[in-house]
């Protein structure tokens, strides 16, 4: 389909491309991006995506504040980040152009909806002169496409289609055009449209018409003279794949943990951006036995999870920054009760309400230390959208095995961005045995709820188990019996036991990647993994010797971490906070770790990591 009869277009093959769709928050940019992603995944490219939207549901139309964008990086080799600088920007209005222009390198292509560049819209976007007429876009390849009128023309002949339906199909026109540009077949998208609007055939018809019109425009218009193909990735391990974001994989990991442990999954949650999506995702699986409760507040959400855990469920509560503050009291109780519980913090930029739709990793110290009293708890952090599955399973394994609350840190970037994910084999997932006590250990032998096994995990019996009735609570426990104890030496012993239990949790060693003769180690945690790996790869292409390592267990830390840190001349630690992990590691290992800190509400980018590496290796 790349040939127009008698007028061949130039074909170009590229290894990787970054496309950014940008428009008003009501323009359907997320949907266009999402559909392009699905088609691209099905085509066989490796990919990573980054949705970027405003906090307001509908900020004033046409303003910079209301611009919503979706970026996708796709390639024929494995890729690690959603890309840094777009090769192509699709701008549906002047505000979208103005808000995103700074991201583009010279020579980048801008495909804009010419119809939207009215005097009023241009002013509303904050321009003092028309960017299409002054020289501000001279450095770019600008393709002016009258998307609104072309869409209108494509659908006006259809029955029952209103002007409004036509207006709402502009994004699909843009999708069709970009699909042509990158040689993506339309059948996948058309099937999706037919299914999505099955009950509104006229809307489905309008969307299909707009999609095809966009494609045809690309194919026939002389405006765009090159079609780019990005061949399917070939360095992908064999297996069955699907495209997932971190929210989906977190949910799947929790459900897998339920299957693996035999404990039903109960989620307590209160709506909060960006964690609400996890509540939505798990709520869809009620038929599988997953139970979700939308609680009256964050405190209740945590308490519901803990109450369910007491009853023998896998209790989970999910939230973001401000919600963590409120859950803290319940997490402290879970420490004392020594019950399994998972607290998921989808981090966003703080403090307070902060930037609710922007990412950050600044809740680490809160996760590690943000409770009163001596209350150590395990902390696990996910590193990529796909890896959220493993991280959720790991959090559950630790929580159940060691009877402890576990904080799972993800972030907004992980939750929203997507990548192809190799679907794991259910048969190969590790089992998690909850070792529930089901009967007294002998006749007339009292049940000792705070007796412990070799891993210091306490005996766990759930209500309904005859003969093992017992009481637990937030007051300090007497060793073994769990009775209330105010004795100082007992408090010392219990404090030591709780600390030793968490410190003794088995976690995998940290793996080092990269040059064996490197003198610089770039260490990371959380969602910066892709940017660090990609930045290191680029730096190596410039001749730098560098090693990378990534932490998934933040408490306890891998046993080999101290040796790893001490074996490099320099250690650089990029974080989307003001150096929180750097502070922890410097204190623990007395290694002079350098912090690379950014809190701009965006993920770390590969070029800045590359630059930081080059500055330290040359």
């Amino acid at each position: 389909m790349s040939m127009v009869e008698g007028r061949p277009k130039r074909q170009e093959v590229r290894e990787r491309v970054v496309v950014r769709f940008a428009g008003d928050s009501g323009d359907g940019m997320q949907l266009a991006g999402d559909r392009f992603t699905a088609a691209t995944a099905a085509f066989g490219n490796d990919l990573a995506t980054l949705p970027d939207f405003p906090a307001e549901i509908r900020a004033p139309a046409g303003t910079i504040g209301g611009v919503s964008a979706f970026q996708i990086h796709f390639a024929s080799r494995d890729i690690l980040t959603p890309g840094d600088r777009p090769n192509v920007l699709v701008a549906m209005n002047p505000a979208a152009l103005r808000a995103n222009l700074g991201l583009l390198d010279r020579g980048a292509t801008i495909i804009l909806n010419e119809d939207a560049f009215t005097v009023r819209a241009i002013q509303k976007a904050g321009y003092t002169s028309n960017p299409l007429e002054d020289d501000s876009l001279d450095a770019f390849a600008v393709k002016r496409v009258p998307m609104t009128s072309l869409t209108q023309a494509a659908v006006e002949a259809l029955e029952d289609v209103t002007t409004r339906d036509a207006q709402k199909s502009r994004n699909v026109f843009a999708l069709g055009l970009i699909s042509w540009l990158y040689d993506r077949p339309l059948d996948h998208t058309e099937a999706w449209i037919e299914e999505k609007f099955a009950k509104k055939p006229h809307v489905a018809a309008a969307n299909v018409a707009a999609l095809r019109a966009g494609w045809s425009f690309g194919e026939t218009s002389e405006l765009i003279d090159v079609q780019v193909s990005v061949p399917a990735a070939t360095d992908v391990p064999p297996g069955t794949y699907r495209n997932v974001n971190g929210t989906q994989t977190t949910a799947l990991g929790l459900i897998a943990a339920s299957t693996a442990s035999g404990l039903p999954l109960v989620l307590g949650a209160y709506p909060i951006t960006p964690a609400s999506e996890l509540l939505h995702e798990l709520s869809r699986h009620a038929k599988l036995g997953v139970r979700t409760v939308q609680a009256e507040d964050e405190i209740a959400a945590a308490s519901i999870a803990l109450g369910a855990a007491f009853g023998g469920s896998l209790g989970v509560t999910s939230t973001s920054g401000p919600g963590m503050d409120l859950k803290t009291e319940t997490i402290g109780l879970a420490v004392m009760l020594e019950l399994p519980m998972i607290i998921i913090d989808v981090q966003r930029a703080g403090p307070s309400t902060g930037l609710p739709t922007k990412t950050e990793q600044s809740d680490l110290l809160q996760a590690l230390h943000g409770r009163h009293g001596e209350s150590p708890i395990p902390v696990v952090a996910a590193s990529t959208p796909g890896q959220c599955f493993d991280a959720a399973l790991e959090a559950a394994r630790i929580a159940i095995r060691y009877r402890t609350p576990v904080i799972l840190l993800t972030d907004l970037f992980l939750a929203n961005s997507s990548e192809p994910w190799k679907i794991p084999d259910v048969g190969e997932l590790p089992g998690i045995d909850p070792h529930l006590r089901t009967k007294p250990s002998g006749p007339d032998e009292p049940f000792l709820p705070y007796s412990r096994d070799d891993d210091l995990a306490r005996a766990w019996a759930i209500p309904g188990t005859p003969g093992l009735q017992h009481r637990i609570g937030g007051l300090e426990k007497a060793d073994l019996t769990g009775a209330i104890s105010y004795e100082g030496p007992n408090h010392q012993r219990m404090t030591d036991l709780r600390a030793a239990k968490v410190a003794g949790i088995e976690v995998p060693d940290v793996e080092v990647h990269g040059d064996e003769d490197a003198t610089l180690l770039v260490l990371g945690w959380g969602s910066s993994r892709g940017a660090i790996r990609a930045g290191a790869r680029r730096a190596r292409e410039s001749g730098a010797k560098v090693a990378t390592a990534h932490l998934h267990n933040l408490n306890p830390l891998p046993e080999n971490l101290g040796d790893v840190l001490r074996s490099y001349d320099r250690v650089l630690l990029p974080e989307m906070n003001c150096g929180q992990l750097a502070m922890v590691l410097r204190a623990k290992y007395l290694v002079d770790i350098e912090s690379y800190s950014r809190v701009e509400g965006r993920p770390l980018f590969a070029p800045e990591i590359e630059q930081a590496i080059l500055e330290r290796t040359s």
């Binding site: 066989g44 109960v266 036995g289 609680a295 007491f310 009735q469």
Partner: protein, 335 residues
């Protein structure tokens, strides 16, 4: 295998933990009544859970030889909601106090009642903070002098029964720590009710608020001031039943009048099963504070949708179901 019907005794519900309330505390009487009543349920102790919050009442869970959780301040109803979500097979009781339930935990209380979570909430109301040694509570009367209100509390108190009815509680009752028989009967009615039940128990704190309910419980005053609500009976009380509650005025307000002044047609006949809670609410407003005639008994007992009753209990997905879920949506295979 033959089944042996087990009968339980009070001793089966007494834990070996040493009770540590102040001498003379009303909590002892409530504990004895609850332990004495439990065998009536015919439910094995391991199927019963007591969840409590913080405050003197919070210790209650340690003294019951059932499963128990002494939680955090005000969160008892939320913890119990989680437990009820996970386990529909348990008999769940929440023990709370006026500060725990109505101050720090007010939100959880009203939402447990709104959702009609199948738990029995026992609210020990002594109108004072006891464990923290004597501050005004959300049920302390205006003008009350306490350590935190040396010039008298200026805040208006909650009427817990009114509050619960306002939250559309399906079962609301009030009883007295000193009336063992009435207390047991009220517990019985609460336990029999499907969904959430709220039982306010006037409980004397001999140390920080002694005699708060003397007007209701003292021999000399009880007959004068206790308005015993009995289903199907006219609301009459006092010596020789010479006083009665009558509908007074067009807005449905109630008033207490003497026999001589009563229009017999306007005497309220109590019916806790009325769908409309207006009359129960009006009864609860007869006394905003127990310093005069005060209704005790079941104000409301109606059936409405019980939390989670239309969904199966949480279950564990099978490996096959998990596999299907993992492969949902668009997938592709790389050979």
């Amino acid at each position: 295998m033959s089944t042996v019907e087990t009968t339980y005794t009070k001793a089966d519900f007494q834990s070996d933990a040493e009770t540590r309330w102040c001498p003379g505390c009303g909590d002892y009487a409530i504990l004895a009544a609850v332990q004495g009543f439990m065998p009536e349920l015919g439910i094995p102790p391991e199927q019963i859970v007591f969840v409590s919050g913080i405050g003197c009442a919070g210790r209650f869970s340690y003294y019951m030889d059932t499963y128990g959780m002494h939680g955090i301040h005000g969160r008892g109803p939320a913890l119990a909601t989680g437990l009820a979500t996970a386990r529909e097979d348990l008999s769940i009781w929440v023990v709370t106090g006026d500060g725990d339930a109505l101050s720090i935990g007010g939100n959880h209380l009203i939402h447990a009642l709104r959702r009609n979570v199948p738990v029995n909430i026992l609210l020990f109301n002594n109108q004072i903070y006891g464990l923290t040694k004597g501050q005004a509570s959300p049920t302390s009367e205006r003008g009350k002098v306490t350590k935190s209100t040396p010039f008298g509390s200026s805040d208006a108190p909650f009427n817990p029964v009114s509050l619960a009815l306002g939250a559309d509680a399906s079962f609301v009752a009030r009883t007295l720590d000193k009336d063992k028989k009435h207390l047991a009967a009220t517990l019985r009615a609460a336990a029999a009710h499907p969904g959430a039940s709220l039982v306010e128990i006037y409980q004397n704190c001999p140390v920080f608020n002694d005699g708060a309910f003397a007007e209701l419980t003292d021999k000399d005053h009880a007959a004068l001031n206790q308005i015993r609500l009995v289903a199907g009976e006219p609301v009459v009380f006092g010596p020789e039943d010479r006083r009665r509650a009558v509908v007074h005025g067009a807005d449905g307000d109630l008033a207490i009048v003497d026999l001589a002044a009563a229009d017999e047609a306007s005497i309220v006949v109590h019916d806790p099963t009325r769908e409309n809670p207006a009359l129960a609410f009006a009864l609860s407003r007869l006394a905003s504070h127990p310093d005069g005639p005060t209704p005790i008994g079941v104000f409301r007992d109606v059936e409405r949708h019980v939390y989670a009753s239309d969904t199966p209990p949480p279950a564990v997905p099978s490996a096959e179901q998990l596999d299907g879920l993992l492969h949902a949506g668009d997938t592709w295979t790389v050979a």
